[in-house]
């Protein structure tokens, strides 16, 4: 199973699910819905956090949070 944390810069993926229920609710509110395409826009100089493009804007999250987002394909 692939997660968002494995995507490299500029790589795209489609959200397929979440592994953490509490975090999932928060991420969905911010537009990270299953079936949505995301791409990695920025990776902070020290490798963490990252910023993704989702639903037309940029969202930053930590690596460990990206780990809870399952990616298709």
């Amino acid at each position: 199973m692939k997660t968002l944390s494995e995507l490299k810069i500029n790589q795209k993926g489609i959200i397929s699910g979440f592994t953490d229920d509490t975090l999932a609710v928060k991420l969905m509110e911010m537009g990270c819905l299953p079936g949505t395409e995301v791409s990695v826009e920025l990776i902070a100089p020290l490798g963490d956090p990252i910023a993704i493009s989702v639903a037309g804007y940029q969202l930053s999250l930590r690596k460990e949070e990206a780990l809870s987002i399952k990616i298709e394909g």
């Binding site: 975090l23 911010m30 920025l42 639903a55 930590r62 949070e65």
Partner: protein, 703 residues
Amino acid sequence: MAEKQGMRVALIGNPNSGKTTLFNLLTGLKQKTGNFPGVTVDKKSGTCKLSAGTSVEIVDLPGTYSIYPKTLDEQIVQEVLLNKSHPQHPDKVIVVADASNLKRNLLLFTQIRDLGIPIILVLNMIDIADKRNLKIDLRALGIDLGVKIVTTNSHSGEGLDALKEAIGQTQAKSKRPFYEVEPLATEVISRISKKFDLENNYAAFQFAQQSDHLKFLSEEEKTAISDLRNKYGFDHNHTQSEETLGRYKHISDIINRNVTSPVTGVASLTQKIDRIVTHKVFGYLIFFALLMLIFQSIFAWSEWPMDLIENSFASVTEWLKGVLPEGVVNDLITDGIVSGLAGVLVFIPQIAILFTFISLLEESGYMSRAVFLMDKLMRAVGLNGKSVVPLISGMACAIPAIMATRSIDGWKDRLITIFVTPFMSCSARLPVYTILIGLVVPEEYVFGFFNLQGLVLMGLYLLGFLAAILSALAMKFILKTKQRGYFVMELPGYKLPQWKNVLLTIYEKSKTFTFEAGKVIIAISIILWVLASYGMGDEFNNAEEHVKASLGQNYSEREYEIALNSYKLEHSFAGAFGKTIEPVIKPLGYDWKIGIALITSFAAREVFVGTMSTIYSIGASDEEEATIRERLRQERNPETGQPVYTQAVGFSLMVFYAFAMQCMSTLAIVYRETKGWKWPMIQMAYMTAVAYISALITFQIFS
């Protein structure tokens, strides 16, 4: 105050939707900041004149992404909306949405709409949407969402009249909710509706979801709701995610029908800037260069307005001394009040410059990149990327900074940030630093363009920052917690700062500083003047004879006056206080006069300067009207004849003020935010100890 039955309108919207700009446009200078009753969330409200000659009250609620709060500040939104008897419960709501990012912004709108409060939807930043070639069919969108839509451009103010007109009109309540939650929890909703007499299903659903956080419910009511949840197997995570998914599905359909966008994705300019600003090398360089620029400008640009203020006060004092009849009142006004007041007002230019930069960083969108850049480093020392905002605003003032820690979720991260923020050099230290640097650091340039005084100032800020980081690191290992914080945050697109917002912030902050700090300083100046001008015992009452005896045979009138004044001061009440603590502060290089200032400036650091002005005006002869800096420079130790303010004393004092918790207001806010005296007391003891030891070491090194 309110005109006949003033309507209350609440502004609600996502962070970065331009809500505050719109609020400023609607209310202009007719706004005030207060507190929501019972909580310390800033409440901004103002009056807005509608075209019909009536006016309404506008309340700016904290920005939030949904009705489910993630931070303490966001809770107020839900509280105000769900509690119908809340004093701030609005008659009408304006939801401000960023037109260029409709999908996410509409989630909050649909939630508020389903609460059944009359509502207007504002599509703000319509200019940006136009620039991105977004085509929005406003008529059809309005019908699909069941709401009156107004488009605005808060840059140009376009659409404002239409919005005012809409506020004046009556909005029909839509009967059908946008998303029906009833099937998610039929039994729970119907029972809560009955118990609390609610007509609205979504409100009842929210009671079920959030009862534990709602302050207006009694413990008994909370238990009743929690029992209902258990009985019917209500899982709030599950229902919330069902609701969110359902709303988004519906929103997506509507957007697909009514909005056409050429390409999705982030604006390219923002992308380009981000690549540079978060670059491995340039990212940190830019961050530190910005900080450097701030300190340099605080010194370089503020010089002439400060001189102007200082000199005008000197002439006012001189004028008053001549005009007023000689005597106690004259002395009290000139030596006590005016010199204390001058001590405050002279720092307005520097405070204005500092706040200009802080609000520019916030407005432009750079601040959240600083958070992004610093998160991992901050986490290494037990802080959080979001601690950057309190730490940077702590350079202005620890009080709003400590309040800003509310955006940090995770109690441990938040507590550590609260604990170390007062180490950041705030604007109240600036007066102390300025005067001491002016005394002991020569005005020279290093490498031709770095102002040496500015560099020392930057060093002091760095010292405070290091103390904050090291203390955080220590606390990281001491505090135990199982709660984890999280870090999901929007990086807003870059915007040109709105000068109106920046100017309002500067105006607001300078005003607060002048009045809040001014009150304390004037009060303390008067008390101090009394304590320094009166005393008890033979030495004070028969000062004339004692001085004459000590001067011997040959002395001029002027020598006598100076000697008399300083003798009287030494034996006054204030002098006695200073003398009492002199043994404790002697190892740091301080005399009893500095001791008095240390005591009074416990109320607030900037009082140090006012106190020094008052003490030295009383001590000096009446003929010479010198500025405080000149007086300090001329001050000699009566025993050795050497200047009192040597480099060793100056640096020792600077270090002391860099670390010591000399601020009652900070203690009060920490008490409020940590809900007890434990943390403010630990904090004060710790900071004072660090200050004392460091000042001691500094004095020993330089002397």
